[in-house]
């Protein structure tokens, strides 16, 4: 009882995957070269934007999320949301904590492991 052949268009065609592969390579080189400019705080923002674009390209097309609706997308969306939830509260805690309660306030911590 082999089910009917799935219509061609709703799956990733080799041509489109090759094109996405090329875009990913270009983005990799781009993120490397941009980082050499040492733009200060902007390096993190640019690097993250490019990484998110690359990751969503891989997730949507290579991992076929583009062609599957519903619960599958929800599962990974919640997992990623929880990642940011955890990071947000941890960094918020470190930033708003009593300043001397941070590891940097350790009097003996001059070098990586003491004076």
């Amino acid at each position: 009882m082999v089910d009917t052949a799935e219509a061609e268009h709703d799956e990733l065609s080799p041509a489109r995957s090759a094109m996405i592969y090329f875009v990913l390579l270009v983005l990799t080189v781009a993120t490397y070269s941009l980082s050499r400019l040492h733009l200060g705080t902007w390096t993190l923002v640019i690097a993250m934007v490019i990484a998110i674009v690359k990751a969503s390209l891989v997730a949507l097309f290579f991992m076929q999320l583009w062609y599957h609706r519903g619960s599958v997308r929800l599962a990974i969306a919640i997992a990623v949301l929880w990642l940011f939830l955890l990071m947000f509260f941890v960094v918020a805690d470190v930033k708003t904590r009593y300043p001397l309660a941070n590891p940097t306030a350790n009097p003996m911590l001059v070098g990586p492991s003491g004076p």
């Binding site: 001397l100 309660a101 590891p103 003996m108 492991s113 003491g114 004076p115």
Partner: protein, 350 residues
Amino acid sequence: MNELLRNVLFLPEQASTFARKVDSLHYFVIITTMIMSTLVGLTALFFFVRFRRRSETQTTPLLNPPWWLETMFVVVPLAFFLFWFARGYTDYVELKTPPKNSMDVYVQAKQWMWKFSYPEGPNAIGVLRVPANRPVRLMMTSRDVIHSFFVPAFRVKQDVLPGRYTETWFEAIQPGRYQLLCAEYCGTNHSLMLGEVIVLRPDEFDSWLADQRRGRALQQDGAPTADEDVTRQADLVRQGERFAVQYGCVKCHSIDGSPHIGPTWLDLFLRREELEGGQTIIADEAYLTESMMDPRAKIVRGFNPVMPVFKGRLAGPEAAAIVEYIKSLRSEPLEQARSRRPVYEPIRSR
């Protein structure tokens, strides 16, 4: 009313401004919850009696709550919860921001003892003397693991983190002696890490502090209580030196950097020592105390395990005094001296 509720709920006496505020919110929360729970319990009991099963084939109507009852189920409890949160959070923020004019005290927690030192005055182990009706700010740090400064009578608790400072404050309102406990699990004798906060009248406290600074407290107090060993920082180092001679440490450990049977004590504190097993450790307080109590635990490379065990012979404060003495042995300039090879030539004086 306050006393009645305090006794009913087994709460300790309210000995600080914060305690009174917290307890009033506590009473409000407990009373509301008790009323609501009994109401829910009684309705359930009433439903059970009123609607018990009369026949096996009895069918019951399909009932679903109207939308307003549904929102009541959500909104009424939420309103209470959010009000409690608002009231509680304002008290909490107040607890976290000490008033400007508060008196500072440095607290150092160490595995199973508390040490208090006033900025330019004495320091004491296990007993904290504070004036009444004056805010006292505690700057707390720990030497090894997480402890927690907890005085039930003040309703104040604050974890003490190793290697960094946490702060809290309280304002005692009536003189007396209140127990201090460690509330964060910190090892074998976590339950013996007790202390005492003695609240004196302001004038009494000022005269005590003045005496302390003139160092006459020892005679005046007569025999200090067992765990109250009131010594000054300078005294501690001199005491450490006396204990080092008394227990014969200097027979094997030189204090001028010259090589001897044991590693030299000059610049020993926080020096990177390479052990027999190949790992390297930092000679911090924990290592020094451990080496006194159990010398064979970590032996520095190149030295023989000949050191006697001092566990049981050295009391806690004596060991602490010796560690303070070692910390005071610093050569100028501060450079990383690594222990050299041991040299065996007897000291003529023996």
